[in-house]
């Protein structure tokens, strides 16, 4: 896995739970867990937009590329 998802860190920094994020973003907890645990194979622009809006961040804060 070369794309890292930093949802854990962003949630901790904002003191938000996954359930709360799920309600505010409109994505199921199951799907957010899939994303958080690095098991997602793709992310929709609409999901990314909603996450960035709620978490007040840039896509680069949520995702990063790691070589190898």
């Amino acid at each position: 896995m070369t794309i890292q998802v930093h949802l854990d860190r962003l949630l901790a920094e904002r003191g938000m739970t996954l359930t709360e994020l799920s309600e505010r973003v409109g994505v199921t907890v199951v799907n957010l867990s899939v994303l958080k645990n690095g098991r997602a194979r793709a992310i929709r622009f609409s999901t990314l937009t909603a996450l960035c809006e709620v978490l007040d961040c840039q896509p680069g804060d949520l995702l990063s590329y790691r070589q190898g």
Binding site: V27, L35, A40, R41, A42, I43, R44, T47
Partner: protein
Amino acid sequence: MTKGNPLQPLTGVVRAMWSITAVAFLLGVVLKVYNAIGETTLCFTSAVVTGQFSAEPQAQGGLRDGVSNYPTELRYCAVNPTGGNRVLGFFDGVPTWFVYAALFFLLLRLLERATDEGVHTAGTADRLRSFGWFTLVAAPAATLVEAFVRTLLLRRAVTYEVSMMEFTRDWTAPWWAVVTGLGMLSLAKIMRSSAEMREELEGTV
């Protein structure tokens, strides 16, 4: 709104065909064994029409002027066949019955598992590929074996020389199986792609 099972009514029809072909195969085997043991006459049909019969028109009434007819198949019956001939007689027909029953069994298993697990899965693609290979290889092989068997029986039934290569004249390649088998192999590749697409979709957040 319920979507229903997209594999119906095909699954039902295939289940019925599997039952019919399985019973026919079992009955056929029982009858063949009974004939091989109990019957005093062994009959077989051969399309290898050679020697004195090959060029001679059959003198029969009822033909208009200028019309002649030639035998393309002859039925031979041997009284008190040897043990070897009885064994060969058993294999004239049984391989094809087995292939038909096995084809419907594989197809039924494919459809039932696809109903349970989903159509667009790697498992369905694998089973479709197996079905394709079986159709492509087994049906021609079965008819080939039977053509060999009939040629062997003919060699033992006539006084003139019959080359083993004559089996080619008695073998009708089941083109339906070749075309269907190749089609199933291509479809299996398509199913493999669609299974990957499904995984992609399910992993999309």
